[in-house]
Amino acid sequence: MNKIKNACIVDDDDLFQFVMRQHFERLGMVENIHKFSDGEQALTYIRSNLQQPDLLPELILLDVNMPYMDGWQFMREFVKLDIPADKKIKIYILSSSTHESDLQKAKEFPVLAGYLVKPLSKQTIQQLLSELLPAHTD
């Protein structure tokens, strides 16, 4: 069975990070889980690996509210990056509420794959990951 190479969880909430990591590990669908506690850290990682597509994430779960650089500030920088053409990066915005203003902002970034409201159940995560996997040929 194929595995997703890299997934990033960008959230400053330690408990959320821990729970997500547990789910990801239990699902066993991702090789490397990268943990970042704010947007700036995540951006630095992506920037420094632009030449190595294998290290770039296929999936980013991005919290809206974080110190230093929040989810929206991250998105503004991310869209400027020169991501290799053959690299598909799916980004989901995470929020603990459905704020109308957040929903509006999400529309400003067509590159976003979706807007998810916390908490994320194991099933939801599984579904997200399944969609990322190449079609089962084996």
Binding site: Q22, P67, S96, P119
Partner: protein, 506 residues
Amino acid sequence: MIDHANHWWSAIANAIEEGYVAIDLHGQVIAWNQSALKILHISETQIQDTAYWKSTVIQPLAVMLQERQDFSGKEISLHFERGSTTWLRTNGRHLITDTDNGYILTFTDITKWIDTNKSERELRHTKDKLEESQKVFESVFNYSPTGIGLIGPDGKWMDVNESLMNTLGFTREELKATDIADIIHPDDRESAVNQIIMMLNGEINTYRAERRYMHKDGHYIWVFLAASLLWYADGTPRFFIIQMVDVTELKHLNTEAQTKNIILHATSVDLRQKIKQLQEFNRIIAHNLGGPATALVASTDLLPEITEENDRSRLLQHMKATAEAILYTLKDLKQVLDLKENNEVPFTECDLEALIQQKWGLLNPLIEKKKAALYLDLQVDTIFYGKAYLENILFNLLNNALIYTRPDVPPQIHVSCRKEEKEIVLEVRDNGMGIDLDKHGTQIFRYKKIFHRGLSGEGVGLFMIRNQIKTFGGNIKAKSEEGKGSSFFVYFNNNREPILKQDEQD
């Protein structure tokens, strides 16, 4: 007898002021006197000349001579070529002797009399009109609800009507003994004098104004007035007519409306402020309470799945920390809400320098470690404020200035306080690392927004003091340049009409 008469004849004829011309049966002029020549402005030759009697000028008389009617007291006019008119009162009589039948026309120049009569008639007409307009004026003057006064060019009241006496509370006699300038409000005197001068110079004919006049009771009333100036025929000023209506009540109503408007505006700004604060609370609840709470829920779902003891205990540790964070946030929010509920913290004149030194003293370990220096420039040395709140503001701003420093740059912190138009401004300026306000400008006063990695900031201090400052109608703003330093400006309203000036942004 006849001889005797003939001897005096021509002397008598010339002595008679009435002019006469006599003709015989054939119309030949047979007699005239000097008065006739004088009245008709002709010579002896002309009067005997038949051509003269055919000229246009003399036709009215020539016609009478031809008609030979007996009459008396007929008024006719002769229009001379020079353009002048002479009025004559004429009489006609047949002259009958034993042998002859003649006719005599006598005439008197009544031009003067006619003219005088005419101007007398005109005068009478003018007088009637004048009387009529005087009656109208008297009626207006006496019964108008508007106060009317006549004021001499010397500024003395000449006459006033009942209404004006009622308006100002003075009797006619009292006013007549008063110079108008003495009862105009000192602040309005200059403009009044200017307008009077402009009228006397003929630059304006009338003016209207709103002025304060002193009532006899000593208080000032607002009047709306209209003034005009009457002139003598020779161009010297005669008197001013001034009309005034008491508009004090209207003014009060107006002021009241304005006051209400100001309060309304203040209330609406205040409400907008509160809505913003509510939105901020909403944000805090969503991110700082909702987020951790959902993580807790998610972790209780996860808990049964975890079998390894190690993972289990780590999860429980995380859960405990999260629950504690929720409690801390609740405590912070409660503090803000308590502040809003309890506006009755005693305000006193706070000695600024003493408070600054006291707070600075509390920060001593950091000061020594970083070799920080404090500079004060307090043009205003006391602030009327809740002491505990002012302490909190000073502590937070000084603390921030000591934390967000540049490595190897000893902190220099300047605290100044000065008075601006309507508020007192307290500035805390540092030479620290600064904040990129383009990037973080709208967020620096938000809850748990942290901008500098690896420093002990909690992102609560600025949020708390801003809420506190705004609760009492003040404001806080920041200026900063990354790598150079920051300035925080706290605006205190020193006269409690605060909310009006408040910054409405963010």
